[in-house]
Each structure stands twice: as C-alpha cells, then as structure tokens.
Subunit: 402 residues, 2 copies
DNA sequence: CCATATACTTTCGACGCGGAAGTATTGCGG
DNA sequence: CCGCAATACTTCCGCGTCGAAAGTATATGG
C-alpha cells in the first residue's frame, strides 16, 4: 500500500491536478472538506446517492490524490483503534476517506488602514502560519507590494501555495475590483489583477466581512445549515445572511439599523443604532463622555463585571440592544443559528444573562429557542476568511455569485 | 374555443390522467401554471434546458391533455394576433403552450369561528365560485358536515372537482391534523381524514395563514422570487417567509413581536407588539378607550384621512409601527419583495406616506429600496389560498414539507 | 468454521440531457 | 416569385449519471 502510493503518484502528491470536478465529485469533496473524514457509506447517506455511485465518484478523487483512504494508513491500524472505542458493530468496518489537507496551502490577507494581516491555511482552512505587516503607505500599489512580499515569505515555508484571498472593507465587485474603501481612501482599484500580476497565482478579493461569513458558513458555525445569520461586532458592525450556503448580497451591512429609539447617539447623530450601541469605539466613547477617562474595552467589561455602576449600565444597555437585535433577526429571518463574531463579543461573557433576557422579551414564549453561538475573532481570523474564498473559488469552482 | 374543448378531448378533459410527473415535467407544468402561456423556446430559457429536452418534456403533457398548444387553435389565428402587436420579428412564430385551466377544479375552505368560506378555483387558482355558510356548532363533526354539504353544492356546478384544501387557524401537523385551534376550541382533530371520508376526494389541511402565503408565493406577488416575505394584518397578525418557493415553517407567527417599546398595550398586557399596534381590533379598542365610541375600522380610517386628530394619531402611530416592522424585515431577512395582505391593510392607503417615512428612517440610505406590495384579502381570498394547497399537493406532488 | 452483518465494487440497464442535423414557418430583399 | 436568413421546433444519437442487483471483502458471534 505504502509502496504503491509512493511509487505511483510522486509528482501528483506534490501537485494534484485540480482538473475541474464534476458536480457529483464536487459534492463529495465539499462534504469531506467541511465534515471531516467520511466513509463512502456515510457519504452515500448524506448526499442521497447509491453506494455504487459513491465508488464511481470517489475513485478518480483518490487516484488524483485529492482524497486518501484513511483506513489504508501504513502504520497504525486506525480502523481497529477507532472502532475499538464503543462502535464495535458487526460487519466490515468503514474505511473513511479524508482530504489531503496539507498537500495544498492557501494564503489569506486582511487589509486594514494600519496593517496587512496574513495567514497560510490548509485545505481545511486550518491556520498554519500568520504574519502582520504595518502599513505605511495606503496607496494601492504599496498594499499590493506588501501582499507580494508577505506571500514570498509564505512561499519559502509553504511552496505549494495554490491561491490567495484578500479581504478588504468597503464594496467589492466581481471578486476582484475594490469599488470603494473609505478607510484606505480607495476607489475602483483592480486589486486582484494587481496582485495576480506580481505573484502569478490566482487571487480572489472580496469584502472582509463577507469573507469571514463565508468561512463560518463553510467551515465554522454555519456548516451544513440552510439558514444562518452572522453578526460581526468590533470596530464596526456587520450583518450577513447565508441561505443554502450562499451569502445574500446587499449593498449595505446594517450600520444604521435602529435598535433602541431612545439609545445613545452614534457618531452620525443617529440614536440607538447598532453601531452606536454595540461597537467598541461607541462603548468607549460613552464611557469617556461620562467619566472623562479613556478606558479600553476590556477595562470597561471588567468594570461592569465587578459591578461598577457606570460601566455596568453602559455594558448592559448594550447587551439589551444586542439581545433585541438577535431576537428580531430570529423572528424575521428565522435562521437555524446566529453567530456573534468579531472582537466585540466579550460583551456576551460579561452580560450574557442580560442578552438572554432581551432575547426572551422579544420572542414568543412558544417559539423555538434561539441558537446563538459566540466566537471571538481577531484580525487573523478575518484573514483566514479571505483564504477560504480562495479555497472555494479555486479548488472547488464554487465561487459563482451575483 | 368552446367547441374544440367539448369535441376534442371529451374523456381526457373530464379526467386527465394525473400520473405522477417526472421532475422535469413538473418544472414545466409549474412554470406554465404560474407564468401563463409559454412557448417551448421560452421554457428552454427559463428552465435552462436545451430545445430538444423541451420537446421531449412537453410531448407527454400535451398528449395527456394537461397542456394545449395554443397556437394550433382551429379558429383564431392567435399567434398572428399576438405577434402582430409589435413583436413582428423574423422567423417562425412561437407556439405558446398553455395549461387547460378549466379542465380541473379545486375547492378551498377557510374555517373561522363564525362561518365557513368556500371557493372553487381553476388550476390557475382563479376563483369561479364562492359561498359562505354560518357556523352554528363549532364541533369538528359539524364543521366537517358543513364542508361536505358545501362541496356537494359545488360539485353540482363543477363536476370535475379534483381536490380540496382547508385552511384553519392554529397549529396543523402533516397537512392533515389540527393540533390546536383556540377560536374553535379544537385539539388534535384529524380534519383531513374526517372530510376525506365524507367526500371521497383528497383533502389537504393547513394553517390558514400558511395557505394564503403559499398561494401568493405561487400565483401572486411572490411568483418566481427566491426570497419573499408576507405580513397579514386583520383580526390577527401573521408573518411568513418564503425561501426558494418554500414557506419556512415555525411554531409561531409573530403575535408577540415588540415594535415600539412605548406603544399601546395589547390584550395580553404587552406594550407595542405587532398585534397591539396593527390589528383591527386593537386599533378599534384604542379609539373606543379614548372616545367611548365603537367605530368601525373604515370609519376610523376615514376620520384619519379627514384629519380628525384622535383617529389621525392612532392610525399614524400604527403606520409608523408598520413601517418600522417592514424596514426591519427588509434589513434582516433581505427579501426581494414584501407583501402586506389581509383585511387591515387599508391603513396603507390612508397613511402610506407615514409608512414610507418609517421605512426610510430604519433603512440605510444607500440600501436597495424596499419593494412593498399591498393586497386587501377578504375571507374568500383565504379560502383560495387553501385551494392552492390542493393544487400544489394533488396535481404537482410538490407538497412535501417539514 | 460457518452464519450474519456491514462495507464496498462491479456490472448493467434505464433515463435525462445536450448537440447536431433536419423540418417548419415566418420576414425580407432582390 | 424566389431564394435566403432567422427563428421555432423535432428527431436522432451518444454521453454521463444514476440505481439495482449481484459479487467481493472483512468484521463479529456462535
């Protein structure tokens, strides 16, 4: 077995030929990619296909090196060990198929006004390297150069880079053109082409929030769900709705939603918007306005947790707003799960009870309970989201949109 | 036309063999059913199939009598007349296919605490007869008897009844079992089986609001849309979300949603709920509480339109609440269209401007405009919705749910 | 060692589809 | 009036995918 693998496809293991997959093959690849190793019989159940079809579909995938038969491992008698646990059912044991996650790597970048964050991930979207480069010049050419340089560094360590994803704020068209970005002061920047030219690898560009949401929908909290909503709370505020695995595209992402008509004013002079209630800068600004002190977000949360009156009130007002918002999303969009992501979700740890109360107050008592998940995401998580775009588009050819 | 129908397909018109349609045939049938007569080439474009496939799919449908070739009419040269308008393009003219809408009829019933409303519709869901029978006894057996009697009357006029749909309030399981209905004081009533036993025709039972929404999704405002939301306002309040033509099932339909935390109290003691702000009884109760007079809904709207201060304030408060709700649905569920239906949408005629203002106040300025449609529905419209259930389930076999 | 159970493979026939070629029916330009 | 182009539709054929059935592989349990 070992011999066969090493002798038969030495070059194809280092660079599997990603010839376009048929729809059936793609479904198999996505199922294994997002749901870990699966046996053929389990795949048959999930994809609603016959056993025979699965043999047909998986054979070319294993032959091309994209999948490996985990049961045929050279050393460990893995199946015996796995089934020895308590699944000691009768009959021939399953032979799980797995994706060769490490055979290909992908780079993902998140561009902010201050720095470029980069990661390298496997096919499974696990981060295997990360880097941060401060951004002096915000000029598009300078940013493209930075990404080029970081990619070169990554390439030294991971020669099998197969594609690159880039997430930026603002509006992006055709997964390639940055229409406008206020933070960087960009307009109509063909970033994908610029970077592609430098690096010679396929490049996908999209809105950073959209990238994070896609990543969660594919590999994270939204795996396999029909309806999935994501709120991102951090320096800004974002919302995304994923239906049948596809992000619903809109022209705005919720900054000006009014949650509490009598809430605090935001920087645009609106009252009780999601931005004014929930974002980190808004919460810090409220504390500073009341006390004159400039406290960090974590200091404010600590104060609230310790029962310090002012921060407590502000944090819990924010938590009530968040709960109201979550309940309304649950009521109107009816997702199976709602994910809170971003840097500003520490709120839930401190005031989770208040969030729950606000949710319950805005839900019908007999309605299904809201499934809420929280995940703190730093900037490298956002970069990982961008890498997922590259995985989607380049490997599986599933990046069609609009 | 009349002659052809009577002479050409006497037996097959009286009972076309509804043998189960293949998925492809079903797609064709649904497209023609919901989008009127379509030529084969137009169908090919819509369904993304080749011209050859369309010949294959349509042939058995025309042969079985479900579809007719509108171009092959003996008398009128319909195609010439149709293309004579301004579409005088070169080439062989199209020959539109149409469904024989009148060959089959369907009965639909809406059961309220006071009466049973019944309609007969064509395959296209056009109402061709309507009836109302007061309900003395609310006992399930009595209701089933009433429906049986009304169906007999319908049958006398329309012998080709193919199926029956019934809409009731409350929760319904498996399109047959009424789990509970507060107005009728029913619990676990197997209504479908009871009526089926009496009449001998297939019977489908579902929640009345769900039926109305399905009807609008198939034949009304939601035709062909991916994401479609419906609000029903009348004696009660309802909400439904239709994704990819399928209604998202939930256990509640929004009665307790809080729109304005400082709004009026509803009958459950909650403040500013959709029910307390928008329903007809709630608006009438507010007027009566303030004036002591019991005014009808229309009188209140007239008063508001004439500028009478009290009714104006109440109606416009309601309109603001409606606008806020619509905006939030647009923000969170991102439908392509929102339909306002029911008996209580006269509000929009009187205070449409206020509704619009409230929508704009809760939308991002650069967001896509909200597509809003209003449709007054009386109880016979609700019965028509129930008939659509029968059309869906019985003719096209597309009623799978859960 | 054999029965049973489960996993997977092989083989074969059915079916749906697209593409190419052929037919039908119009308008248009000589 | 006669091609000629254009469009609509039909017929035919080959391909690819699928499921069913039969066959093979590998475990457990008596």
């Amino acid at each position: 077995m070992v011999i066969r693998e090493e002798v038969e496809v030495p070059s194809s293991a280092s660079m599997p030929n990603w010839r376009p997959l048929s729809p059936g093959e793609r479904a198999v690849a996505i199922a294994i990619l997002t749901h870990g190793p699966l046996s053929r019989s389990e795949l048959a159940k999930r994809l609603d296909l016959s056993a025979g079809s699965l043999t047909r579909l998986t054979k070319p995938l294993t032959e091309s090196g994209l999948l490996v038969d985990a049961g045929s491992g050279p050393d460990e008698p893995a199946p015996a060990g796995a089934s020895g646990g308590l699944t000691t059912r009768q009959g021939r044991p399953t032979r799980p198929l797995d994706i060769v996650a490490g055979a290909q790597h992908f780079a993902g970048f998140k561009v902010t006004a201050e720095a470029v964050y980069g990661v390298v991930t496997t096919l499974r979207s696990e981060i295997v390297a990360r880097r941060r480069t401060p951004l002096g010049d915000r000029d598009p050419e300078a940013v493209a150069d930075r990404i080029d340089a970081m990619t070169d560094e990554f390439k030294a360590e991971f020669p099998h880079l197969a594609g690159i994803g880039i997430g930026v704020g603002g509006r992006v068209r055709d997964r390639s053109l940055v229409v406008e970005n206020a933070f960087l002061d960009w307009q109509e920047v063909p970033l994908a082409a610029m970077v592609e030219e430098r690096i010679g690898l396929p490049v996908v560009v999209d809105n950073d929030g959209a990238a994070l949401i896609e990543a969660e929908a594919w590999f994270g909290a939204g795996r396999g769900l029909d309806r999935f909503a994501v709120l991102t709370i951090g320096a800004g505020f974002g919302y995304g709705l994923v239906l049948d695995g596809k992000l619903v595209r809109t022209r705005e992402s919720g900054k000006r939603w009014i949650i509490d008509p009598y809430g605090p004013f935001d920087k645009n002079g609106e009252r009780g918007t999601a931005e004014g209630l929930l974002t980190i800068p808004a919460i810090r600004a409220q504390v500073q306005a009341a006390t004159g002190r400039d406290m960090t977000y974590d200091e404010i949360l600590d104060g609230a947790a310790a029962g310090e009156p002012l921060t407590y009130r502000i944090v819990h007002q924010s938590a009530r707003g968040l709960g109201t918002l979550v309940a309304q999303i649950a009521n109107y969009a009816i997702p199976q799960k709602i994910l809170l992501a971003g840097e500003g979700v520490g709120l839930v740890d401190v005031a989770g009870e208040t969030v729950r109360e606000a949710i319950d107050a805005n839900r019908h008592p007999s309605a299904d309970p809201v499934v809420l998940e929280t995940k703190v995401s730093d900037f490298h998580e956002w970069a990982r989201g961008a890498a997922v775009l590259a995985i989607q588009v380049l490997v599986l050819g599933a990046g069609e949109e609009r």
